[in-house]
């Protein structure tokens, strides 16, 4: 291969770019997926939402019935009000103490309120909520701040930076958050619900379903991107085909010399296949190294997990070696088929 260094370099460079694209797409999207999943885990993907579609909601003590039936392990109502305070609008959620754990909320100071009656005028506020002397007026009630949430506390519902959490004060909430005691307890819950509500009067959304659909989208994206970079690999390999083809012709004299020195067709085909396979493998090695670099840099910048699968690397390496050899078959066959007299005409 010493004879056409530049061509070898350019071709394997093309292949390395394609391989780098393909592998980085793969590794990065794996990283995105696993980051997403662990993020979802934190946001409580096991939480389900019961939405009651009746104007008068459902009595708040309904939560206790579900809890006592043993089908749910945590349940909290969630009512929503809005509070105008100066230029800001805060969202006020009416919840109970189970809510904090279910949604994985964390405090930067203070404590959560409990469900005891003497806590009913305490509240927990988001990091951006302004108060005067730790007192907030909501409706006609003054609430004292018992705890402040960490910054960027968010769940699938959004950020809690501008939220105020108070003990629920509505007797008929229309939304509950709960986690099932067992993963497949839907039926039991529905059976209990049927005593209060008809089918069309409620809806249960599972956050797990949402995370599943996020995963599906991520998988689809990976497939599309891999396909695109697969095309670039194909293009660079057709470059390799033309290179082996042209060198096969340009080096006609060499094949003549080798044959006159006793090389058979087999030896010449082997030589060309090994050469094109080598070009492809060199491209793969550079591409793989680059893809690791790209993935490492991006996962550092985007604060994602660095996921790297040796199996994928190995498979791609094998694939590129095979494809490189395949690219050499026709040119090698043609080059080896010439007679010495055709190759050397002096």
């Amino acid at each position: 291969m010493k004879h056409h260094k530049r061509v070898v370099f350019l071709t394997s460079f093309g292949i390395s770019v394609a391989i780098a694209c393909m592998l980085s797409v793969r590794f990065l999207s794996d990283g995105v997926k696993s980051s997403l999943n662990s993020e979802m885990e934190k946001m409580g993907s096991s939480v389900s939402v019961l939405q009651v579609k009746r104007p008068d909601g459902i009595p708040a003590d309904f939560a206790d019935i579900l809890l006592n039936s043993g089908t749910v392990s945590f349940i909290s109502p969630r009512t929503v009000e809005f509070l105008e305070s100066g230029d800001e609008t805060y969202t006020v959620y009416g919840v109970n103490s189970s809510f904090f754990e279910m949604c994985g909320l964390k405090l930067s100071s203070g404590s959560f309120f409990s469900d005891r009656a003497d806590d009913h005028e305490l509240c927990v506020i988001g990091s951006k909520v302004k108060t005067s002397r730790n007192i907030i007026l909501i409706g006609k009630t003054y609430y004292r701040v018992s705890g402040v949430l960490e910054e960027e506390n968010y769940d699938l519902n959004g950020s809690y930076d501008n939220a105020v959490l108070i003990p629920n004060r509505y007797p008929h909430p229309s939304e509950f958050l709960f986690t099932c005691a067992y993963s497949e307890d839907d039926e039991l819950i529905r059976n209990i619900l049927h005593e209060y509500l008809t089918d069309s009067e409620y809806e249960i959304r599972k956050n797990a379903e949402f995370s599943e659909s996020v995963n599906t989208v991520a998988r689809l994206m990976t497939k599309v991107l891999s396909f695109i970079s697969g095309i670039s690999l194909f293009v660079s390999l057709s470059g390799l085909v033309s290179v082996t083809y042209i060198t096969g012709i340009n080096r006609k004299r060499e094949w003549g010399i080798r044959k006159s020195c006793g090389a058979g067709r087999k030896e010449i085909i082997c030589q060309l296949l090994i050469e094109s396979g080598m070009i492809s493998i060199i491209g793969f090695l550079f591409g793989a190294a680059n893809s690791l670099l790209i993935t490492a840099v991006f996962s550092y910048l985007l604060e994602m997990e660095f996921v790297f699968q040796a199996g994928v690397l190995l498979k791609t390496g094998l694939l590129s070696a095979i494809m490189g050899m395949t690219a050499g078959i026709v040119p090698a066959w043609n080059a080896s088929g010439k007679s010495i007299a055709d190759c050397i005409d002096t």
Binding site: H3, C261, G262, A263, G264, R265, I340, T346
Partner: protein, 217 residues
């Protein structure tokens, strides 16, 4: 032993060889002479199985080499034939030593020992200082000597040389002819094309080619 029976060769309309019949015995040292364009190279290529004749037979120990299968031809070339083309024909990206080792490697000799032997052959043709040079760094005469060294690797029973001394000064040419004579003394057949009548004395036979016909002196 080789017999050429009624061999003819045309390049399009141009008839280069016509009804050439001749017998080559083991251990012959044949000098082939003729004007430029008289078909000396063509005849040598036909004898070496490089170029098939349009008509006639080339019998090697009674078997027509034109009917050899590809694999038989390769085997014959490896074991029995050394060929030195009119121009040196070295592979440009291999060193002199690697070039000289090629036939031995193709004949199944391990690379290491092939290279060692190639070094000895190069020394024999006076290239001990040029072993690791690439063809582009060799003079015409040096390249030609390298090609001769290469043709000797497998101790072929027949050595065909197309003007091996063409690019050499008289002294260098003489040493090459002496080398060929030495090879010939191992009962190897040597056929040499040359322009220079001075070398006729080395051969035991002289062929003249003119107007497509071969005459022996």
């Amino acid at each position: 032993m080789m017999r050429i029976v009624n061999a003819g060769k045309k390049y399009g309309e141009l008839e280069v060889l016509h009804g050439v019949s001749v017998r080559i015995d083991d251990g012959d040292f044949i000098i082939v002479r003729g004007k430029s364009g008289s078909g000396k190279s063509t005849l040598l290529k036909i004898i070496g199985g490089v170029l098939p004749p349009d008509e006639g037979k080339i019998l090697w120990n009674g078997v027509d080499i034109c009917r050899y299968k590809e694999s038989e031809m390769v085997k014959w070339r490896r074991s029995s034939l050394g060929f030195v083309f009119q121009s040196p024909e070295l592979i440009p990206y291999l060193s002199a030593k690697e070039n000289a080792a090629l036939p031995m490697i193709y004949n199944g000799c391990p690379r290491r020992s092939a290279l060692i032997r190639a070094g000895k052959l190069l020394k024999m043709v006076g290239l001990s200082e040029r072993m690791n040079h690439y063809p582009a760094e060799l003079s015409g005469g040096e390249a030609q000597r390298c090609a001769i060294a290469r043709s000797l690797g497998n101790m072929p029973s027949m050595l065909l040389c197309d003007e091996p001394s063409g690019a050499l000064d008289p002294l260098g040419a003489k040493s090459v002819m002496k080398l060929l004579k030495m090879v010939n003394q191992y009962r190897k057949t040597v056929i040499v094309v040359t322009h220079d009548p001075a070398w006729e004395a080395f051969g035991n036979r002289v062929w003249d080619l003119s107007e497509g016909r071969l005459t022996e002196r």
